[in-house]
């Protein structure tokens, strides 16, 4: 790494730390050059393939902030969420919780970490034990962690939790089994279980993907409320940029591509002033609920729609085979995150890309106003 890159690194720390709505510079969790490589069985030629699901990610999570993690299917979002919650141990890099390295935590502190960092899984079918009633699933962890004592207190707390997540009347849900609930209801049970342990961080992995629009907003509102009222930091994982904007309005957004963070900044900056050509393509692909705007955006600014093989990431910038702006430099030199405008972007030509985007947006708003 050359001196310039180190400067950017310092800048990155500065930016990701002093962000968003928290005034405190306190860092709850720090991801320090975190990578996750999966070995993928023996290939035909005898050597094991290495898939970089998460590559060299740096991120600070502050108390009570919301970070949206977005990107295409397979880009590493769930893997990063698993690392944050300690479900998977990164193959390299460090995870620090309240300043201490997670694998080196004392027994008490490790226990505290497991309670304070919760995950709402992408697959709500798989995340609930089909043999247990909702009451059983929700009361076991709080009894075990001695958050409440005694069956009576546990029941009262479970009822309260069900009410918090909008499952009313709560008594109707206590004796139900997961298969008797709709997708949206199960997703809320997972949310209730996560908040029951008084967490400081909730990683919510596609929590509304299975839910139709009318319910979607109410679950997003619930998460925003938990964040506001209980000061829980939320990592919202999704491929849906519109819901990310909805929930993380004042928070930050990290855009991932093939395991790497390509753009990081305040949500509104990232979405209104996108610099990275990949992010621009992603934004262009969002179906917007306005027929005139939707039809004005015709061709996607991508040279190819196929996602490259994560086991053989392209040389240089890993986006270059699909990038409409790629030059010779892009095929050999990997861009590092650097400050462009008010966000961090990993693209050699971020300034030019940004200018093109602004011109395109001006054209579209012209359509809106004729």
């Amino acid at each position: 790494m050359n001196a310039r890159n180190l400067d950017y690194e310092a800048e990155l720390r500065q930016r990701t730390r002093g962000a968003a709505r928290t005034t405190s510079s306190e860092v709850l969790m720090r991801l320090d050059h975190v990578s996750m490589y999966f070995e993928r069985g023996q290939s035909m030629f005898g050597s094991a393939q290495k898939v970089g699901a998460v590559v060299d990610v740096n991120l600070d999570i502050h108390p009570g902030e919301i970070i949206a993690l977005v990107g295409e299917s397979g880009c590493g979002k769930t893997t990063l969420g698993n690392i944050i919650t300690g479900l998977q141990k990164p193959t390299s890099g460090k995870l620090l919780y309240k300043g201490e390295e997670v694998p080196k935590l004392s027994r008490d502190k490790a226990n505290q970490f497991r309670g304070e960092v919760q995950m709402v899984q992408q697959d709500s079918y798989a995340a609930l034990n089909p043999m247990r009633t909702i009451y059983q699933s929700l009361s076991a962890p709080i009894l075990q962690r001695k958050i409440v004592r005694g069956r009576k207190a546990a029941k009262a707390r479970v009822i309260e939790l069900l009410q918090t997540v909008g499952l009313t009347p709560p008594e109707r849900f206590l004796d139900k089994y997961p298969h008797q609930l709709s997708g949206g209801q199960r997703q809320r049970i997972l949310m209730a279980r996560a908040i029951s342990l008084n967490p400081k961080i909730i990683v919510a992995d596609e929590p509304v993907s299975m839910i139709d629009v009318s319910l979607r907003i109410s679950i997003l509102n619930l998460m925003a409320e938990l964040n506001r009222k209980l000061d829980i930091a939320i990592i919202y994982i999704t491929h849906d940029l519109a819901t990310a904007r909805y929930i993380a309005g004042r928070g930050r957004m990290a855009v991932m591509y093939l395991g790497r963070v390509m753009e990081l900044g305040g949500v509104n900056d990232v979405l209104s002033q996108p610099k990275h050509p990949y992010l621009q393509a992603l934004l262009s692909a969002v179906p917007t609920p306005d027929p005139e705007i939707a039809r004005a955006m015709t061709e996607l600014p991508l040279r190819s729609l196929e996602m490259p093989n994560a086991a053989k990431p392209p040389s240089g910038c890993r986006f270059h085979p699909r990038c409409p702006m790629a030059s010779a430099r892009c095929t050999s030199e990997e861009p590092q995150l650097r400050l462009v405008g008010s966000e961090l972007t990993a693209c050699h030509y971020a300034e030019e890309a940004h200018e093109l985007w602004q011109r395109k947006m001006a054209d579209i708003s012209a359509i809106k106003h004729v």
Binding site: E72, S73, S182, S209, D212, V213, S214, L215, R216, I217, S218, L220, N221, H239, D240, L241, A242, T243, R245, Y246, G249, L271, A281, L282, L283, S284, A285, V286, P287, T288, P289, D290, P291, E292, I293, A294, R295, L300, L302, L305
Partner: protein
């Protein structure tokens, strides 16, 4: 309204009622629904989960299976009465006149049979009316796969598990076009896919629609997809089509209070977030429907009449239709009463 909006129907659904016997009674999934699919257009059918979209579409495909029962109404396809088709006619009707890509289509492929064999089976089942030679069949399959931007050599020789979700989705779309149908029904074709793959699939669909002049019916939760793709939109609520009209009208000037709420329930990237709200209340219990207009417990405009009588649908000459007491006659539809 723009000119050229006179609708020439390919499919006409009238008073359609479909029931399922369940433990606690008879569930009416589709309740006296009227609906028209115009020829050569892309029509979208939207509505909350459980509103009856898939059930109505399956009936058009004559794919309602026991114990489900079409207990009333009629379906006309290109002038023919669909409900009275005999066994042989039915075999030619399915896939040759109308084909359907079912919800969760990725799971519809047989996991232990190569794609090529699955395609051949479909051809052979229709050999009577479409007698292709093996060479012609392969040729056509290859062309269609190419059309949906798949590599025919690789895909034809693959088992389903060797293909990604997006690839399987495209195989199913190619499948639905094999026998040159007049109508293709697509049930939630992209829910599980990210926006770039989604955009890609809809690009393909629009191209197919244009070049082959195929009529399409798209069932979806995703209002954004509708805005981008459809010519005409129908809105289902509790088993009924409560409003239908031109896509631009439906977004700009929704008439039915439910449509207005549905359009506002989607978070948008370009608009003020605070304008987006969920729809309060929950969908009605189909086994215990409220009297009068089924939407009245959730409607801001509900009045006495709504609690007693189910509104009758009115039709404007320009092709808009709405069932709501706020619009007692076609003339009143010109005014927008929702906000």
């Amino acid at each position: 309204m723009k000119e050229g909006n006179i609708i020439e129907p390919l499919v006409e659904v009238k008073g359609l009622t479909i029931e399922f016997p369940v433990r606690s009674g008879l569930l009416r999934a589709v309740n006296e629904a009227d609906f028209v699919i115009p020829k050569g257009k892309i029509t979208a059918l939207v509505g909350e989960s459980g509103s009856g979209k898939s059930t109505m579409a399956s009936a058009i495909m004559r794919a309602i299976t026991v114990p489900g029962l079409v207990s009333g109404g009629s379906i006309t396809f290109d002038g023919r009465d669909v409900m009275s088709l005999g066994k042989k006619e039915l075999q030619a009707y399915k896939w040759e006149q109308v084909s359907m890509v079912f919800q969760a289509a990725q799971n519809a492929l047989n996991p232990v049979v190569r794609i090529k064999e699955q395609i051949m089976e479909t051809f052979l089942a229709h050999a009577r009316s479409k007698p292709y030679t093996e060479k012609q069949m392969t040729e056509r399959a290859r062309n269609l796969l190419d059309y949906v931007r798949l590599d025919p050599d690789r895909v034809l020789n693959s088992f389903p598990h060797e293909l990604s979700g997006g690839m399987k989705q495209r195989v199913m779309i190619a499948f639905s076009l094999l026998l040159d149908p007049k109508l293709v029904i697509l049930d939630e074709p992209t829910t599980a896919l990210d926006v770039i793959t989604q955009a890609y699939i809809f690009d393909i669909l629009k191209k197919i629609h244009k070049e082959m002049n195929i009529t399409m019916l798209l069932l979806t939760h995703d209002i954004g997809v509708v805005a981008k793709t459809a010519d005409r939109v129908g809105v289902m609520y509790a088993g009924n089509v409560v409003e239908a009209g031109d896509v631009f009208d439906m977004f700009k000037r929704p008439k039915h209070p439910y449509t207005a709420k549905l359009m506002k329930a989607v978070p948008s990237l370009y608009e003020d977030v605070s304008e987006r709200k969920g729809i309060p209340g929950s969908p009605p219990d189909l086994l215990d429907m409220p009297p009068g207009c089924p939407f009245h417990p959730r409607c801001d405009y509900a009045h006495d009449k709504c609690r007693k009588h189910n509104p009758i649908k009115v039709y404007t000459p320009a092709g808009h239709e709405v069932a709501c007491h706020l619009y007692p006659n076609p003339e009143s539809v010109a005014e927008v009463r929702t906000s």
